[in-house]
Symmetry: C2
Subunit: 196 residues, 2 copies
Amino acid sequence: MTTAIRSNNRLDVLLDSSAELFSERGYQAATMRDIAKKCGMLPGSIYYHYPNKEALLVGVYEEGVRQLSERVQREIARATDPWERLELMLAAHIEMIVEPTAYASVIIRILPDDVPSAREELVRLRDKYEVYLRDLVGALPLPKDVDRRLLRLFLIGSVNHIPVWHRPGGESPKQIARQLTRVFRRPLQVKPRESK
Amino acid sequence: MTTAIRSNNRLDVLLDSSAELFSERGYQAATMRDIAKKCGMLPGSIYYHYPNKEALLVGVYEEGVRQLSERVQREIARATDPWERLELMLAAHIEMIVEPTAYASVIIRILPDDVPSAREELVRLRDKYEVYLRDLVGALPLPKDVDRRLLRLFLIGSVNHIPVWHRPGGESPKQIARQLTRVFRRPLQVKPRESK
DNA sequence: CAGATAGAAAAACATATGTTTGTTTAATTC
DNA sequence: GAATTAAACAAACATATGTTTTTCTATCTG
């Protein structure tokens, strides 16, 4: 017995459309009808691919985490210096979340508490990605009295807030990442090598 | 002709209940029926006080800005040093937004884009409050090449993300505010007076 | 080519939700 | 104490929304 996937399968289109609408409007405000219309299906057809709306969101979330992880992993491999690696990650992360059509935006905009029935699953997926930031902050040479957990949480807050204020014409992700690490870097280094 | 307010007016109870539910669940997920039940009214009765759900949210928002502004104004008056004033403001702000029953939480959780029809009004109210932070950051003695706008936006992101991860038993608002300013302070001061 | 079936259409269902309308009650005012 | 009306009740309305069921069709397989 075979479970072949047909050539005109539109699962990918469905996922793309869902990501875009979830990202733009949030979970509740993105209706199944809107999603169906966007990908040229009828509402009921979605249920062939996913048993319910919640599962559809989880599907988008999974793809988002996959894309983010892949990209970030690739970027941080380009440097060995801990601060440089952090900046590379932030730049890549910012770039992906300010792009409204991207899956990554969904992970930033829709918080686990927004969908109580899928809470644990969403938390699990988020954690899977946030491990990268945890490791990068963990690798920084910092004074002993700096709370790395708080530092990480401040970073997440700053970064994930960017889509709220960022406008297409404004600062580039790289510029933002540079300013952000600059702010944190100077003081926190054990032994600053450079001075202005 | 008189427009007297009756002694058993329950507008305040209605606003309190609305604030709590908006804060807990967000705009869409907080239904008029939930709000009515929480304050012991019937759904239709709410419409005597506000013409629609959106206006009810604006009412809560207004009260939230009022409370935040009042409290912050009082706090920052206790110091003259720019960094100390910033820390005082952040501590007060954090304290108010981690309290789930407070109006302030609504302003943090519900973003203008969540309610397109009331977007401008909500932006106006938020700006009214954020002026305090703008002034405080503006008063900091910083190197010329530091982008104060970005610094402010990073701060807002860090701070407003706190309710997402904060748990009742965890760090106190004052401790968090101290760590946050510590992170920003050391490097950005033109002339550091203290060294570890 | 013929049968099987992946994948979507069509249409309805059940319920949730913001809101409206007519009515009642009790506080206020003269 | 009677008239007024603030404030809430009671009940329905209209629509939106997630979902289910049945039916059709184009693709794949043997």
